[in-house]
Symmetry: C2
Subunit: 330 residues, 2 copies
Amino acid sequence: MRMLINVPETVVADALRGMAAAYPDLTVDVENRVIVRRDAPVAGQVALVSGGGSGHEPLHGGFVGHGMLSAACPGEVFTSPVPDQMARAAAAVDSGAGVLFVVKNYTGDVLNFDMAAELAEDEGIQVAKVLVNDDVAVTDSLYTAGRRGTGATLFVEKIAGAAAAEGEPLERVEAIGRRVNENSRSFGVALSACTTPAKGTPTFDLPDGELELGVGIHGEPGRERRPMMTSGEIADFAVNAILEDMPPHNPVLLLVNGMGATPLLELYGFHAEVQRVLAERGVAVARTLVGNYVTSLDMAGASVTLCQIDEELLRLWDAPVRTPALRWGM
Amino acid sequence: MRMLINVPETVVADALRGMAAAYPDLTVDVENRVIVRRDAPVAGQVALVSGGGSGHEPLHGGFVGHGMLSAACPGEVFTSPVPDQMARAAAAVDSGAGVLFVVKNYTGDVLNFDMAAELAEDEGIQVAKVLVNDDVAVTDSLYTAGRRGTGATLFVEKIAGAAAAEGEPLERVEAIGRRVNENSRSFGVALSACTTPAKGTPTFDLPDGELELGVGIHGEPGRERRPMMTSGEIADFAVNAILEDMPPHNPVLLLVNGMGATPLLELYGFHAEVQRVLAERGVAVARTLVGNYVTSLDMAGASVTLCQIDEELLRLWDAPVRTPALRWGM
């Protein structure tokens, strides 16, 4: 086990202590596992709350701040946070304008955010939800009914967060979040498995020289396993899988996301290949983001997410954001 | 071999194509391997040029932009760039105010930057140099006479870059860069080796359950090898090694840097332990940066860098910066 940890039991709490010390703009409640913008609640603004299993950092805690999330609830590694956590986060950030839950489509998350919505509504908080289910690789999987939520979560949180920062009402922020999700698709590949601290051994067995096409962000099985392919071949496969599901009609936001252990040097090269395929398919790239944003612990691999955008979504994407992991315009 | 590449021979060129497509603020000369600020040369400002072997991304190309580097020269993986590259970069960014070379202390880099300085001076460009040699782990190593240059490179580039952006003359920018290096120390640990594309197998053999204390950023051997330690024990060892070499006298800038394959979740937890040790030793942390900044391909592990700062260096650290990997205040 090659882990930089104390003991598996304290990994999430240790990480939260580390985030608290790293980011003075955040308030981190280590005991209750809630990460909140220090200036929350922000008067007159809808608040965005997301969360999910830990192990995908910087998602979600690294996206808390002006123009994106108001709060994040980290669960145990690859395990949904609990309803109490989410309701507590909602109460901490609600200004009276309501709260939007951004929920990745995994059975545990969906159930728990539903229960949290009831708890929050009992406290008089208006709640709406956006479900993120962008992964075209498989329909049902180990942890989901329907498609998994992966890279598009970043797009939903950034763009809906910008709408909230502009003072849009809850139903508008929700509608914008849904529009982003509906126009987003992802496809991921794994070159290695990942290892959770609790288990201490790889979550699945991927022999050297093979890759998993269509893998999920917890190492869930994908579409198929093949002998190793080149970066260019993987880009062809991933982009074509996305465009087959969502024919190109608009310019796109492009996210080329590293799963955690793939060097940035390789990720840049993969990005070049993804750009080549998009150019060949006549898809214009309006904006591009390359880096480790929605990770799977120490998994090697990458994912591609496309969001077909219109003028309004692009303007909201470009709007100022100030979070640990995404920052521009301020 | 679990790499997201086409063929080993094109890894650096592919990555540069990918950077060119990702960052409209940069001009990337893929053929000559020079990454330049799009708005260079900037009238009246000293230009900073750095470079070194590839495989440490985002260093150096990700630090090109306002308030930091004017240009970067990536070599082959773990191999110095050549003098022609560096001289070409200097010519591209010199406004007439002179160029500061920021050089990590590795034999190849030092020789080649020396030759590049001669080439540039022959063209009438005024050149100064700052050598970065912050790694306290070992005195001489596989690639160096004297100490290795590692994490402090980021501090030197950011702070000297801010001085340049304020219009300071070359000798002042150089003096500030030297002051940052003189007050900085680093210590790194590896939990796994890294694998270069050309070799395809790990650069050294580190059995599961052991770690290398004092490792270099190319996997050079460190001080000693031990059975796996906890995050807290590693933090104690690293911080004490640094403070033994440089007794605390000022508040510090703290960089907790991931080597590439260590999940951010673990890095945050390690950061918490480093903060604990610093508090126990009575060292005040003025600013902290946690993330993958000076990496070693797919190596698992982390490094700690401290820079003991004064008011001027802190002000320059806080000054606006706008690069792919470091961005604030604009």
